[in-house]
Symmetry: D2
């Protein structure tokens, strides 16, 4: 029995919902994408969204042409506006990532992904700077300076990997960063620019980045890196499998920037984990499972102690880095599949969104908070075995003694596990239909609904005893509400069918 204190130890940080990842930014033109994001915003409410490709060819921004014998450039924002207007309508702000290279401005032909993002440095740093300035100036004109000052601007993506930046050339990146940062500040000195958006395992780039910023007096308003826990890819057709490190490894990765930058000029700037997940592959089925939600739960509960944001990569399976998915469930990153089937990780986030602002307790299998109106909310999760050597315990018991100001308490519980709230399990039972028809989609939507239970519990000594049994890989949200009983004195269930009153 864990006794939860009646007074909060502080606020639950909002870092877990500060930002979320998205497939390349032009996918935001899609209806399925927008439908998914609308659902996410209704149930979760992320503040920012970050994705690749803002300056890639698909967005049509950089448009050279000839007129009267001279080469000129038109900067065009037809799709940028459609995307950002949609974000505004959906109540989410962009966490801008500047990249990749427009092919007509690129110095080489190397591309990344099925959709061919060019990853080479600009042919002309002057033209790149013009492009950056034109883009930000347009955004400021359209959205207002006060607004755009709240949008972080990150320079490039994972330049430490050869796939994402030709030759993983640190010097070339620092040059690009410097040119970009100055271009940003030329538009407005209060715009927020940062980097280096590195992948896991390259923290030495942080040191170089800090040194460079100091030596050259380059503006850095925030520092960013990514975090993943998966091992090497074991490919199967249209998919991969991978081993996973324990979830704590994510928290360790979150912690390194602040540790590493201590004593540098960047010691105090915000740290954003601009991508995190278990597997970095968009076709690893682990993303679709109840295991995945239970695995990530402690990360969401604790990550905010370490960084200013950690951004789940990504909110939707509408994502085409490895091509168009060939099956509804395909191991995509999404909290949602195409067609808005909610995965267990979606529920994890939706449950987090229902936690209160005041932190009462936090343990290895639970998080307890309180709302201003007195409701106490518990997020609990079953322990998992990421090694895969055991299936995880089939039952996990957790007893909490929760403070509550009333004589009776109403308890509402929502659960997601291997059986309930688990559309993937239902989908497998249906025969794993790659292109489900309307009826099958309806079944899956229904299957994704968590199971709900309700009960009245007595309050004793200002607290209620909550005895929870979790199923394998279950995450569960419990809301305990003070009861004010309005049932009239004549209420008597024994009389329902005309029987004698008590």
């Amino acid at each position: 029995m864990i006794r939860v204190p009646a007074e909060p130890s502080g606020r639950l940080p909002e870092a877990w919902r500060h930002c979320v990842g998205t497939g390349r930014i032009d996918l935001a033109l899609r209806r399925d994408y927008q439908d998914s994001l609308a659902l996410v915003q209704r149930d979760i409410g992320f503040r920012y969204i970050r994705g690749h490709g803002l300056l890639s060819d698909g967005m049509g921004v950089y448009r050279p042409y000839e007129w009267e014998g001279t080469r000129r450039v038109r900067h065009s924002f037809t799709y940028v506006d459609q995307v950002l207007d949609a974000y505004q309508e959906l109540g989410i702000r962009p966490f801008l990532e500047l990249g990749f290279m427009p092919s007509e401005l690129a110095s080489g032909e190397q591309t990344v992904f099925w959709w061919r993002g060019n990853v080479t440095p600009p042919r002309s740093h002057r033209e790149w700077a013009e492009l950056v300035k034109a883009t930000l100036t347009h955004l400021v004109d359209r959205h207002g300076l006060d607004e755009v000052r709240t949008w972080p601007i990150e320079v490039w993506n994972e330049p430490n990997l050869t796939d994402f930046w030709a030759g993983a050339d640190l010097k070339a990146y620092l040059k690009l960063y410097e040119v970009t940062a100055h271009a940003v500040k030329e538009v407005d000195a209060a715009l927020q620019v940062g980097g280096p958006a590195i992948s896991p395992g390259a923290d030495e780039w942080l040191d170089r980045f800090a040194e460079f910023a100091e030596e050259r007096d380059v503006p850095v308003d925030f520092v960013s890196k990514h975090a993943y826990t998966s091992g090497p890819a074991q490919p199967v057709p249209f998919g991969v499998h991978q081993t996973l490190a324990p979830a704590e490894d994510l928290l360790d990765q979150f912690a390194t920037p602040r540790a590493r930058l201590k004593g540098t000029r960047l010691a105090e700037v915000p740290v954003h984990i601009t991508e995190f997940n278990s597997s970095y592959c968009p076709d690893n089925p682990v993303h679709d499972t109840a295991f995945h939600a239970a695995y990530l739960a402690p990360v969401l509960a604790r990550g905010g102690d370490l960084v200013d944001s950690f951004s789940y990569w990504t909110f939707s399976d509408m994502f085409e880095e490895a091509g168009v998915p060939t099956s509804l469930f395909h191991g995509g990153f999404g909290l949602l599949t195409h067609r808005q089937i909610r995965k267990p990780a979606y529920h994890l986030y939706a449950f987090m969104a229902r936690m209160g602002p005041d932190l009462l307790a936090r343990g290895e299998d639970h998080l307890v908070t309180r709302h201003p109106d007195g409701r106490v909310t518990v997020l609990a999760w079953a322990p998992v075995d990421p090694s895969g050597e055991t299936p995880g315990p089939s039952r996990h018991r957790l007893r909490l003694n929760l403070p509550i100001k009333s004589r009776q308490a109403f308890v509402r519980r929502s659960g997601v596990d291997e059986e309930y709230g688990n559309a993937r399990t239902a989908w497998q039972a249906m025969g794993s239909p790659r292109s489900p028809d309307a009826h099958q989609l309806a079944v899956l939507h229904e299957a994704a609904e968590p199971v709900r239970r309700h009960q009245r519990l007595p309050v004793e000594g200002g607290a209620v005893d909550l005895d929870l049994t979790l199923q394998r890989h279950e995450i569960t949200l419990v809301e305990v509400t003070p009861v004010e009983d309005e049932s009239p004195p004549w209420a008597d269930e024994r009389r329902l069918l005309g029987g004698q009153p008590r």
Copy 2:
């Protein structure tokens, strides 16, 4: 183990959803009403809707005035049009009930209900006939003759009760019927008129009605009566309790018109039960319970053998015969409460709407049908004790052997009982809040969601064994679908976390 035959014995009649009842017709102007009806139509899809008050003052149809010294009448359809346009938009047709009396046309001042419907004969049968003709002519002009010919037109409501027709005067009713039927046919001979809309226990009125129709050659296109099973009201503040007869009693009441009219000119006309329910009181909590759904299930399964329609009274708690309800749950007739909380009886109807057209089997605790696409659907219900002497068995087991054309079957089950899919239970646990706030309403909407389970079952000998355990007062829908397995050969759950393939 019940072996369900592979070949249908016939079609499942649609009488159960031919018609539904509504509070007085001007309530259809309300938004909560329309929101509720939209939900009902999405999930159930009734064909017709019937309610009182079309000609009562609230609809503003009969409007005498003076001009140049003469009394004249304007017939006005401002609200009639708003209501019928709403019905059209919602995909439901009116089952017209002509009544009650406009107060300026009435011969007396007796009224019924909190909303004061005048229940006296017309001061002038000529003016009444003009009113009927003007109304139907307007409807034909607006909706087209083909359409209006499909709308049954019922004359008055429960004239055999003194509350509803001054003095329960049979002769006066027959006179009203005659005048009305001729007025209807004057507009168009193919319009459908009928009566006498009697309450239970007055079947001798059917005999008199048939004799009168024969003697006076009065058109009768259908016969109507009502059916209820409750005993005398045991009042409490804002509510009543009543004993109930067994549900079979409803089927017996359905059966009497055809039996009684055999050999008369009305032997072959359609029979409509234009109202039915357990209790006839709009403030009996039994309407809100899981018991009520399990109690009515066999009636829905069998009623269509006996009559052309039986119309649940009513689809929504938006109903004011006893005044404005003072509490969210208050024992209203509705399938839905105000604010669209689904009651167990709502789920019963929604489950029926998912049954297939082909009838495979029917028993005392189950109904089995098949869809053209091969899906087999089972509606099962736990037996209830309407005497209230026992609480009903806490568990009920049912084993069915179901024909299915595939090697594997996908089984999807939705259940509603005392705990799950039961917002009333949750509401009581919350302290019976009379005016729930937005958060409480959200909890109740969630609590009203049935519990869902999914599994894969093997098919042997062209059939699947379904072993169901029902909880107390449970109704459950099971859908069994042939599985075509698309999972690829490389699918292997053991590899999810990077483990070795099998």
Copy 3:
């Protein structure tokens, strides 16, 4: 030519949209009402809404009952919550009017209106005070104290008229006011209570009210009265005609409270004109005309100098004081008819809603404002002859020299007059169909659309010359926007069909 100054003389007061009137409050349960209010809020955006009947029987609040031999009272908020939740959803707050009397609490049987609001004093002032306190306590519980403190609470309606308050008994009103005001303050001292909500022509009640408040130290947080300009009713069937005083008469009526209360304790409290219109009859066709918009335009332009609000009575024709309307256009108060046909007065309000916050100029036929982004907006109106002796000039010319910061200006004009933006004219041409069908409604919606014109004008000396000709009874909105020309050098209309470039 009127030269409009480049610098604002101040802010345009928002009194014109502080509040709007509504038919009795339970009509807010209707869908047509809510659809209309949604449109109004989208295009106009009133802050508050005020109507009769909050405590009348139709809302079902006051519910006496017996239990264990004792009479008790249940206060019930089923419909109050539905109405106020709808207002909240629609972004408008209630301007609460406490009245009329629940019939079971009334001391007499006198009623007002077709819907029979009881206008007699309470049988028990103690029970009335309990009712007031229970209602406000419920509202505070549900909506929060901060919110409810922003809702004005007005005691009764037009107690100086015998129709609205038995005997127009001043003493009885002051007693009611006193009891009510103290009950309100008992709930929370910062709730805002006021009165006496008098009809025009009874300003001596203001003197008595102020004296009484002073003598008895009764809280008065605001003072309210009504203003209308129509003469005696000349009835026709389903309608009336009336003479009208000039519109300035409304401004004179607005001005009297502050003048009269100078030197009293109420000298500084806000003054709300809680109802105003030309005719006080809900069936005077003048409300539906272009004349009416042009007549009221100067009142909207100037009224805010005199009072804190002046509330148009009412936003919609969904209004039943004289019974259910018998025709789409029937002279109702509404800015909108049933089915949301916009009347000219609707456009007047919608035009006002597009004026900027900075007041540049105001004249007898125009109002000029500027938005923060530099747009200059002009509301202009043709002079009318309210005596009806002349039809009003067929053309009216207005020349304005408007300051604008650019080299070119884009001019956008919307107009409503006897022909354009005038559904009533189209409706008459269609034959005045009382119950228009769907096609006719579509024509009327289209006919209600203002006519729009656009042009580019040169700017000279920092200003643009706007030469407007208004048609009879026209109101027109002109928006002048600085142009930044982005047309490329190769743009050349002569080449559209392959012709030679210039």
Copy 4:
């Protein structure tokens, strides 16, 4: 004065709205696209929609992979289903075009358009046939055979042009056609297959196609070609200008297939013009003009006499063949711009959609029809000068004597010309903003609204005289409705302001 006969000469063919074109099919995943199509379907209601790219890489259908050392192919319909489900929801059916080549199945690397559709023959005709069969089988499984039998299946696009089919190789096309047609018929013999989808000026391909079909007994269920009237492109940056042939030239092009195929086996098969427009360039500003609507009006009025369908290329500016548009108005093919601004050609189609089924008269500047309810509708257009040598007459007068069965007629007119209903004119006056902000978009939506006028006209001798003056490049819709006058005897406008009655 043209006297229009009272009796129809026949039905107005629906060929004008049988089909509409779209940018490449995966654009249908976009929200702007679906919003536009929803509007088009509401106002126009096309039956079918045709676009390129169903089998191109962007749709992700053809997906080779290796498993256990063998190359295999997965056919995947993730996006096909999303697109066709959207079409179904929007009430439009696909006119399937089979192409272009999946790059992994292609025999070469030649591509067309910015989005790089591969235009080379398949590397393996067997695999192509498998792809075709798998696709159609999937569609039949999902949508039902009855439904898919109504979907025309066209083989490739403009194979007579080297841009669209490597080498414009006739023999290779006939081979592809043959393989495809047999593959289609293998799925179901009643599926409808056709070609050769040629561009203008290649009618000899029709002869070869017919001979080949006859010689090899290849199924051909319909014949298709395209029609355009523009001359050579005169490029400017981000646009082109072109000369245009007179609109009659389109009708001539429509007529050739039937003429040419007379006497062949294809003489009786349906002829579909699967693309038509004035200019074939997606960046010719003529598409955005009032001229364009007036130019096409006679084609819509007469085209149905010559072919079974003629499909406007395309419904929306969401179209990327020449890259992402850099400006809101850019000369796109669309009836709608991005963001759903209606162009004059949109109104032409919307006006056509309001014409009646019975054809009364047709002239060089007008089309007259009647609805079953007696409404007479006139589409009139001003003559244009496509040579561009004159601007077209500034006024055009048309007098029609229209039969109408009533004593009075209600006349409703909607007009679009150089000033009214013309967002492009307003956009130019605004300074041609390439990326309009929300306010500017609202202005443009408003500016796109046609001007409306209404009047009552007397009927004499069963007919009404309609005297129309059209402005330059005006298209106008006039609806003449019989009036049944319901205005009461006491209606008298002179009493509006309390004046004396007549």
